[in-house]
Assembly symmetry: C2
Homo-oligomer: 585 residues x 2
């Protein structure tokens, strides 16, 4: 073939304006149709599809050749753009086709293990093993391009407001705090290990100390966790830090970023983001990441339901209810489904009390034995439940009950279609507690991380009443997903040391693990704070998809395994020897 | 202090236009000067310096406070912008100062271990240990901002021409080919390991196979090598790949990128980049990355210098010379220095023959015993050496001699000031051989990597005369540094298998290591090719600096150690146990 370039156009470029032009296209065979005297091939590339046409009368040899092609073969086709007889209004190239004069098979293809279509017949495992074929499918491609666009817009915005992207190291040091580290044995320093960063936290703080003022980085982070459905051992963070700022400065700066992203990639102007304290979020939604696309707030009912004869409520620390609008006509079966839902081990409740607000103004409940119509009316009044509504009530220990009712609330949101796709509700959750107590290990853990500063007005409580100390720590929540979180940091060596002590580090341990940071604080540290967003999650939420895997080109499965390249894998004895390590059976 | 925001301006913003305004600044104490009745502080932030002024008469208390401050303390200062008595024309804020009304010490600082000045008194090791302080220095800060700008401009350009940035995984699989891998033990899959990528090579090829057409990524890569002066175990690559392209397409595309970078970050319009074959580069400069800022090409002198009585030349495979312009007056001492230079173990030559072209038209050489004036004149003529020039001649085995003379050529370039700072000479070196023979292991290695395609017209030679096979492989060289390299890839399973065989892989080994790629090629692979640039090196070359460490925020030393965080380090017994590995003593 005498072609000086491999292609003149892509498969999404040609339209009626090109009729009569000689062109060369390259791409994959999406479909072949033999219609009597004509053979048509849909040629696909990244950009779109163009129809190739072969006439069996005028080009019998070419047409015979074309009939042998299979799906996913790679072709280079030269020909003339012609008007199509039967136009396809669904694609930009639908008015034309190429009357092929020369064709060159660049690669043949075996029959793919699943169909390369928007809806594939391949199961999850098969598509992961052949991820390179799965990535050809439009929905997956769309996700990859979407992710690129978001990352690009983030960098644009951050650069424009003076943030500098600085790369922090990947081979760092293992620390016992937080999740498990992935470690990397050092060959040059036998017996010693690097760790892969769970986040660039300490490095970005050092950069503030170095005076960089506004830092960001879109960067891979690593956590060796037992994987739940939607975790990945490696994930991408939009990591940001600023100096000489208050919480207000940080929230405003990143509210600007979030608005920019929505505007650029979704063409949505979002209003100023509401704020809610952690305490309110827990009280009203039982969650620090409430889905505020729908209301259904918790109502505390201790005053209405205790001191009667129902011992379950009487013994409970907290009795709370939610109203399911217009569900007062739920059948026994529907109610039983809800009871079953809360009894699932993932939710773990003992049961559920319902009150049906009937159209006739009467109430029907699962606890009619203990409460009369008047009692139930008072409950309904406090809940602002109206005729035709359903009240669902749970009770027990405060934290546990809130969490269980939160699960039920989200389940109802799903059942009632209240989590509308394409609708976005954003929320800053603020004033997180600094610490959380762990019953099992009987110690405090940092709620955010050990570098978060207590609110200045709570500093004095740190040693006397640690549970009451709040932090200028904040999360960004979109549609019930935590998209980002951050805090104002400690910038003082003594306070950092005190924090490590509260977390149970001895001075020696603190010095061994974080000596460089404690030391750095001695040389003039600016007040600073920051935030980190999960890029994978952000992409998923903005696309109304549940799984972050959909936005990762080559994800790992729930066993942290890449089934495509078959990794992890054994390494050679020689490698182990060089590294000075042995496998222990 | 009643301040609603931490600062109103940065330390580089204020000028005469702000006189009379109330402002708040934050920053570090760069210097304190007590001049009779006045105390002045230079307050520094990322952006610049502003002078704070304290009058001992009108603000005696404040002035006394300020006298206690030390270098690198962090201050918040409120006051009024005033015209300066003695102006400083060297800085944008030099016309004004702040008459401070309130001052707040945000952090004190111990005396830094070295001076935070453009020229520091700290040695390399000390500055690395306290890298967070070193990063405060202007020259280092300038480098970090420069790197950010380059990366940002690259992304802009690539996005504009339709390249998609796609993140490839960091936890991949170890392969025996190429440099040593860093490995990561898997806890979930005991006895198995991930490897950190030396480059995303196979993943970017899979993305081409998936139809992404134009991919790029600015990405960290890892090599566990014994470090030379200017290598880092982790480094950053601008990794690119394109489908349906010829070498010409790739070179033109990235020539566009390089021109864009020069234009944006150096304000230099570079002309079209010259091309030279690998064979010519070796013949004319003895190097595949010649510094073409100066000429000094090799001249082959076998025909002029052999067949006389000088056995060293007679026995040599190659006799080559270079001309050092206007060095015909070199003293014995200067010539001896050059001889000593080539005898250094790093160069490894046995000696050096010189011919001084004297002003009177006569020649004086170290081999006058063997060659008469006429012989030497013929040498000078072939070298185009003129009166007053110096000819330097080496001989021996072809490859070795070229490499040695190349070292001498670069040394002369340095001595004669021919490697001009601020001048940039770019070169595409093309037509690299596909393979190179390793004497020690007695096998072929891929010159570029095992995925590089032989030139189509050389394919037939692959099994019969592998040394003669060239590839469409190319390097970008700037001022004698290899900045990038790439090739047109194999896109066919059978050819890839054949290549693995030539490299000594059994079919089983090839399948075990690269089965996913060989398999992927069976489902319609497009012709593709790409390139990868070293971002660290690019930054260094564009800044006329030698070391890539200057452009890495937190580099490792030559023992692959981060002395700041003291990593690598031991990990706990518990961690080792969880990972199922043991340290072998």
């Amino acid at each position: 073939m005498l072609m000086t370039e491999m292609r003149t156009h892509t498969c999404n470029e040609l339209n009626a304006g090109y009729i009569g032009k000689e062109v060369i296209l390259c791409g994959w065979v999406q479909a072949i149709r033999n219609l009597g005297g004509m053979t048509f091939i849909d040629l696909r590339d990244r950009y779109g599809i163009t129809q190739l046409a072969f006439n069996s009368e005028t080009q019998s040899e070419l047409c015979e050749t074309a009939k042998e092609f299979g799906r996913e073969w790679v072709l280079q086709a030269a020909g003339t753009v012609a008007e199509r007889y039967s136009k396809n209004k669904n694609i930009p190239t639908g008015d034309v086709e190429i009357i092929v004069s020369k064709i060159h098979v660049l690669s043949q293809s075996e029959i793919p293990p699943f169909t390369i279509e928007d809806e594939s017949d391949g199961g999850d495992e098969l598509r992961m093993k052949y991820r390179y074929l799965d990535l050809r499918r439009n929905p997956v491609k769309k996700n990859m391009l979407f992710r690129h666009q978001i990352a690009f817009e983030i960098r644009n915005y951050m650069n424009n407001i003076g943030f500098v992207e600085i790369e922090t190291p990947f081979l760092i040091k293992s620390t016992p705090e937080g999740a498990r580290d992935f470690v990397v044995p050092s060959r040059v320093n036998p017996g010693e290990f690097y760790a892969l960063p769970q986040s660039p936290q300490t490095f970005k703080q050092l950069l503030m100390l170095s005076g960089y003022d506004r830092y960001f980085q879109i960067v891979k982070c690593f956590r060796d966790e037992d994987l739940r459905t939607d975790r990945q051992p490696e994930f991408t963070q939009i990591d940001c830090e600023m100096s000489f700022v208050t919480q207000e400065d940080v929230l405003n700066t990143f509210e600007g970023l979030v608005k920019h992203i929505f505007q650029k990639v979704k063409n949505i102007e979002i209003p100023d983001i509401e704020r809610m304290t952690y305490a309110d979020a827990m009280k009203l939604y039982g969650s620090d990441k409430p889905d505020t696309r729908f209301d259904m707030r918790f109502v505390e009912l201790n005053d209405r339901l205790q001191h009667k004869d129902f011992s379950v409520f009487n013994q409970a620390e907290l009795v709370i209810g939610i109203v399911a609008k217009d569900c007062g006509n739920y059948s026994r079966k529907q109610l039983d489904e809800l009871v079953d839902f809360v009894k699932r081990p993932q939710v773990g409740a003992g049961g559920l009390v319902y009150v049906l607000c009937q159209p006739d103004g009467n109430y029907k409940s699962s606890v009619d034995k203990f409460y009369d119509q008047n009692d139930l009316r008072k409950v309904a009044e406090k809940c602002h439940a109206e005729e035709g509504d359903l009240i669902l009530i749970m009770s027990g220990k405060t934290e546990k009950t809130r969490s269980q009712l939160s699960s039920l609330r989200l389940e109802l949101g799903r059942r009632l279609g209240l989590q509308k796709s394409g609708e976005y509700k954003l929320l800053w959750v603020v004033d997180f507690p600094l610490l959380e107590w762990d019953e099992e290990t009987e110690r405090f853990y940092a709620k955010h991380h050990p570098f978060t500063a207590p609110k200045p007005e709570h500093e004095a409580l740190l040693l006397t009443a640690p549970r009451e100390v709040n932090a200028n720590a904040y999360d960004l929540v979109i549609n019930g997903s935590e998209i980002g979180g951050g805090s104002i940091r400690i910038h003082n060596s003594a306070m950092q040391q005190k924090m490590f002590n509260v977390l149970g580090f001895s001075d020696e341990e603190a010095q061994k693990q974080f000596g460089f940071l404690l030391n750095a604080f001695k040389y003039g540290a600016p007040p600073h704070g920051g935030i980190a967003f999960g890029l994978d999650r952000l992409c998923a939420v903005l696309s109304d998809l549940d799984s972050i895997r959909d936005f990762i080109a080559f994800p790992k499965n729930n066993a942290a395994r890449d089934t495509m390249i078959d990794s992890p894998a054994t390494i050679s004895e020689e490698q182990l020897k060089e590294l000075g390590i042995e496998i222990k059976n």
